[in-house]
């Protein structure tokens, strides 16, 4: 790391999380730069969600630390917004009420919040549904609202916990691209947890692979695809390469399996790309 390297927005340093006797996460370390999307993948039940909760400040570390913009996180930090797999909309609030929630609870008056809330609601494509209740919305619409709610507080960090896992395949495809489009307008440091390898590659600049019990970082992969990204990215050569690599690593039983031949084409990336070597996709 040189002096001119941007300070990591999220720094996870030897994070270990135990529940009673059982360790779920062991010695997890990685950084997320401002404006970078890091995907996290791993088999089910490997603690991806626990990792997210630690970042979100909902589960203080047993050992190690999580820092956001230099400050250690032990409880929900300012400027961190979470999008949940279960959408987490309050059923008794309208879409407007939900999207405005982060602002309301920080003390902003409804009148002051209104313009931003309306703008976000239309940004996520829910214009006209301001007064609807969550039960009247489809899953995809609810998640859009969840996203709008997260964006409303103008976060520095976005934490996405398998946000599209509860949606049908078509909606998921649509929303992935929607999310990328929206993100492009205001690139924010994002940790994107998913169990879908395709999704991880599509969304992320780098991919953290967790595996084992307890989970540790098995590998960090540089996706090496430029932005902005659209649907066509999925057909690119690079995408296929990264995906195949991930598939083999993640799908083989547990950690510590030897990497297949295609590993040579895929980079290991331990540090975020520094300003000096910003050459685009390729080995660092």
């Amino acid at each position: 790391m040189t002096e001119s390297a941007p300070e990591a927005m999220i720094r996870i340093d030897r994070l270990t999380k135990r529940y009673g006797e059982r360790a779920v996460l062991q010695d997890v370390s990685f950084d997320v730069a401002p404006g970078e999307i890091v995907s996290v993948v791993g088999p089910s039940g490997c603690g991806k969600t626990t990792l997210l909760r630690s970042i979100a400040g909902l589960a203080p570390p047993s050992e190690g630390s999580v820092s956001i913009a230099g400050r250690e996180v032990t409880e929900p930090a300012e400027g961190v917004a979470v999008v949940f797999q279960h959408f987490g909309l309050f059923p008794w609030k309208t879409v407007f009420g939900n999207v405005a929630y982060g602002l309301t609870v920080a003390g902003m008056r409804r009148k002051d919040a209104e313009p931003r809330v309306r703008q976000l609601i239309s940004l996520v494509g829910l214009e006209g549904f301001e007064k609807s209740y969550p039960y009247q919305l489809s899953g995809g619409m609810q998640q859009r609202a969840g996203l709008a709610r997260a964006l409303a507080i103008e976060p520095r960090v976005l934490v996405m916990d398998e946000p599209f896992a509860s949606l049908d395949a078509q909606t998921r495809d649509l929303l992935q691209l929607e999310l990328l489009r929206i993100w492009e307008q205001r690139p924010t440091a994002m940790v994107f947890v998913t169990h879908s390898i395709d999704e991880a590659v599509l969304m992320g600049d780098r991919i953290v692979i967790l595996s084992g019990r307890p989970s540790h970082v098995h590998d960090i992969v540089d996706v090496g695809i430029g932005r902005p990204r659209g649907r066509e990215v999925v057909d690119s050569e690079r995408f296929r390469v990264v995906r195949d690599y991930l598939w083999t690593v993640v799908m083989s039983n547990g950690a510590g399996q030897s990497r297949p031949g295609s590993a040579d084409e895929v980079t290991r990336a331990g540090d975020p790309p520094s300003a000096e070597s910003a050459e685009g996709p390729g080995p660092i």
């Binding site: 529940y19 797999q85 959408f87 009247q136 919305l137």
Partner: protein, 287 residues
């Protein structure tokens, strides 16, 4: 740029609910701590202690603040053997109990028949709806004075109120059950060319059973209230009257024992219903 949105509410709800359930299944607990179940012994101990505390408060409260004839645990407990061997108590309890059981039985028969008819025949349902709903909404105990005029101060008045109290929730529930039988069951029966009475007994009745039992559950509580009110008003031999009599004659501790027996009675009956559901209807699963 917004995409056309179709809100299929049911699917959304199911989706969100599935997501929620899955999320909940994975998480140890919201605050990240593992849940420790208390052992059965611990729970039992806490409850017993709580009971003792309550008794203590009652005892000292009564001793300190209340007139001497107010019941207190020390006397009540010592009176228990006396009450349980008291002829009046035993005959009264038996009388009430038998009346309840008899009344419930009659109510089940009448209620099921009417309920099935209402559930299956839309027209009858509509014709009778007004009366069923009205009677369900009113406090049936208001009929007790009228019943004492019709039946006199006799056990028949008590039986009548029990039957009326119990029939209503049963009619209500059985009708709902019979009505809500999925058309597909009916189709199955029809494809096997089942005659109408077979559809009723073979499909409608079994499908309504859970509802029937639910109605019975409600009916027990209501029947007990009706029985006690009838006994109070009509001075009938029964556990309710025993309570009244003993309170009036300053044997309030005896009355308290009787109240406890009454409560136990209510609990046992409801527990029996639940048992019947679990054993007799294993195919029915409550959420």
């Amino acid at each position: 740029m917004s995409l056309p949105a179709q809100p299929p509410a049911a699917a959304a709800a199911g989706t969100a609910a599935r997501g929620l359930r899955a999320a909940r299944a994975r998480q140890p607990r919201a605050d990240g701590e593992p849940q420790h179940a208390h052992s059965r012994g611990q729970i039992m101990a806490v409850r017993v202690i709580a009971g003792m505390v309550i008794l203590a408060i009652w005892q000292f409260g009564a001793m300190a603040f209340a007139p001497a004839y107010i019941p207190r645990p020390s006397r009540t407990i010592t009176q228990i053997p006396g009450v349980l061997s008291d002829q009046q108590f035993l005959s009264g309890t038996a009388s009430t109990l038998l009346a309840i059981l008899e009344g419930l039985l009659i109510a089940v028969v009448i209620g099921t028949v009417i309920g099935l008819i209402m559930g299956r025949l839309r027209d009858v349902d509509r014709a009778l709806r007004l009366y069923v709903n009205s009677f369900y909404a009113m406090p049936i105990v208001a009929l007790v004075p009228l019943l004492t005029v019709w039946f006199g101060y006799t056990p028949n008045a008590r039986l009548a109120i029990i039957v009326i109290e119990a029939t209503l929730p049963i009619v209500f529930n059985v009708a709902e059950g019979a009505r809500s039988i999925s058309g597909s069951y009916e189709d199955v029966a029809r494809t096997y060319r089942a005659p109408w009475w077979r559809v009723w007994t073979g499909v409608a009745l079994p499908a309504s059973l859970p509802y029937l039992l639910g109605g019975l559950d409600l009916a027990i509580g209501r029947a007990l209230i009706g029985a006690v009110v009838a006994e109070f008003i009509a001075g009938l031999n029964g556990i309710g009257y025993y309570i009244l009599f003993n309170v009036r004659s300053f044997h309030q501790d005896d009355a308290v024992v009787a109240v406890c027996v009454l409560i136990a009675f209510a609990l046992v009956l409801r527990a029996l219903i639940n048992l019947a559901v679990r054993r007799g209807l294993p195919w029915y699963r409550a959420a």
